[in-house]
């Protein structure tokens, strides 16, 4: 029996119209292959999705005719032909359904309004404030850990899971779904993964992508350089460069999309592991960079007033939010003073 079912469904030709798809959708659960087929079919022409909705709507609206005299008459004839009349039940149901029909009609339009409102708000946006960190779990069980001062949007569709990292940093633990690549847009580049764990850091001066597990593809869209032959900016095409990154590798690209060698400090797996646990970790970081990193987490930044101390190496692990410990360490390191001027903590070396 099972063999027959499989044989039949395998030899079935790919349905070419919306009504066939709806019939198939309603005849049982779809396997992954069938879902993929439907999605490819919807992608094939812009009107296909609309046709699918129309066919589905026709199916649902045809419920209006259940008590139609002609329909009931013909069904009674058919019941007389067949051995299993189920008419009593249907008639009973229908008599009690009339008040609900009015309700249903009312909900039709209002639901649409609700859906429209809801759709205007999608894709969903997630943000963290300075010093705040948060883990969100997505519909596919992927998780995103948002670091301090981060804003990203999540948009899931049939063909892709798309995240737009507008600012800040996020660590992605991606659930495997070969049919829907997981794509992170940040700056002028995209990072594409199927199932993996990777970190994306978007700062003002560029984006750094680091892979912890699995493999991702990073594509940056480089703005055209100014060349000796003057060209109008609009007509100059962007150049796309792609890199495949394996676990432990990282890449960076600048604001204009140019691929860069990532700063090891930003790309280091230790730093990423530390921040995802709410800690700042510095392994012999130059002081100015450590301060810049620290400032990402706090409302009141630290300013280095003496350039002489900028290159001093600093090491240590600090809890996010524990400003006191970091400032104390700085004071000790530079043997200087910290003055709060209201908007910033100014650090002066001796």
């Amino acid at each position: 029996m099972r063999g027959i079912l499989f044989g039949r469904s395998e030899s079935r030709p790919v349905p070419g119209n919306a009504a066939e798809w709806v019939v198939r959708m309603r005849s049982g659960s779809l396997d992954k292959g069938a879902r993929g087929q439907i999605q490819r079919w919807m992608n094939a022409a812009p009107d296909n999705a609309r046709e699918l909705l129309r066919a589905e709507a026709a199916w649902r609206l045809s419920g209006l005719l259940e008590n139609d005299t002609e329909v009931q008459h013909e069904l009674a004839e058919l019941d007389a032909l067949g051995a299993t009349p189920a008419g009593m039940d249907a008639t009973y149901r229908w008599r009690h359904a009339l008040p609900r029909l009015a309700y249903a009609a009312a909900t039709i339009v209002l639901a649409a309004v609700g859906i429209m409102l809801w759709l205007q708000n999608s894709p969903q946006t997630h943000t963290t404030l300075r010093g705040e960190q948060r883990v969100i779990t997505l519909a596919d069980n992927s998780t995103i850990t948002l670091n301090t001062d981060t804003r990203l949007q999540v948009k899931f569709s049939a063909g892709a899971r798309e995240i737009t990292l507008q600012r800040g940093e996020a660590l992605f633990q991606v659930a495997r779904d070969a049919a829907r690549p997981f794509i992170v847009y940040a700056g002028r580049g995209t990072t594409r993964a199927v199932g993996t764990r990777f970190n994306v850091l978007a700062l003002d001066n560029g984006v750094t992508v680091s892979v912890l597990e699995g493999r991702v593809e990073v594509t940056s869209h480089e703005l055209p350089r100014r060349t000796s032959t003057p060209r109008r900016a609009e007509s100059s095409p962007t150049v796309s460069v792609s890199r495949l990154l394996d676990a432990g590798e990282s890449v960076a690209y600048a604001q204009d999309g140019e691929l860069l060698v990532p700063e090891p400090a930003y790309a280091s797996p230790e730093r990423i592991a530390a921040w995802s646990e709410g800690k700042l970790r510095f392994d012999a970081w130059p002081l100015d960079r450590a301060v810049r990193e620290y400032n990402r987490y706090v409302a009141k930044p630290i300013r280095l007033d003496s350039p002489a101390v900028a290159d001093l190496p600093i090491s240590g692990v600090f809890r996010v939010g524990d400003a006191g410990a970091f400032v104390a360490a700085l004071r000790e390191l530079v043997d200087g003073q910290v003055v709060d001027d209201g908007t910033a903590l100014r650090l002066t070396g001796k």
């Binding site: 099972r2 079912l5 009504a19 609309r50 058919l78 519909a139």
Partner: protein
């Protein structure tokens, strides 16, 4: 064995709702990009109603649908459907009735048994003495005609 086979054929599918929802989202996407969905508002409304009514099941989707539902509940007045809503339902009913009448006899019977008696393809096939494949084709054909009837007079 036979029982589970039949259950499999008849089981309604969560995938179905997902796909409909995807199609709906796509359509709205394309309309937001400037390509207006030329289909009459009514179809979207019906789909929308069902999407909301069937809110549930999966976590994130559930959450989003739940939110839509909240918006709804705030506005819903089941006692007084608007004239437009009633007119839409009435027009649909008329168009569908005509389309059903115009169907070939076998296709109409197959469709009626499937739609209003909730019979499975294989049960219809046995009762009418045709193959399962014929039943499937007839249902699709009938549905396709109903779909076209609903769009009659709308811009293509």
């Amino acid at each position: 064995m036979l029982k589970s086979f039949v259950q499999r054929l008849g089981r309604s599918s969560a995938d179905c709702e997902d796909i409909v929802q995807e199609a709906y989202l796509r359509l709205l996407e394309s309309s937001r990009r400037g390509r207006a969905p030329r289909s009459p508002v009514g179809y979207l409304l019906v789909i929308a109603r069902n999407l909301v009514a069937e809110a549930g099941r999966r976590s994130a989707r559930e959450e989003r649908r739940g939110r839509a539902l909240q918006v709804l509940n705030a506005q819903l007045d089941p006692a007084s459907p608007s004239p437009e809503e009633l007119a839409f339902v009435e027009q649909s009913r008329q168009r569908l009735t005509q389309a059903l009448r115009a169907l070939p006899v076998r296709a109409r019977r197959v469709f009626l048994l499937h739609r209003y008696r909730a019979l499975r393809h294989i049960e219809i096939a046995v009762r009418l003495g045709v193959t399962v494949r014929t039943v499937e084709r007839d249902i699709a054909c009938a549905l396709s005609r109903l779909k076209d009837a609903l769009s009659e007079g709308d811009p293509p």
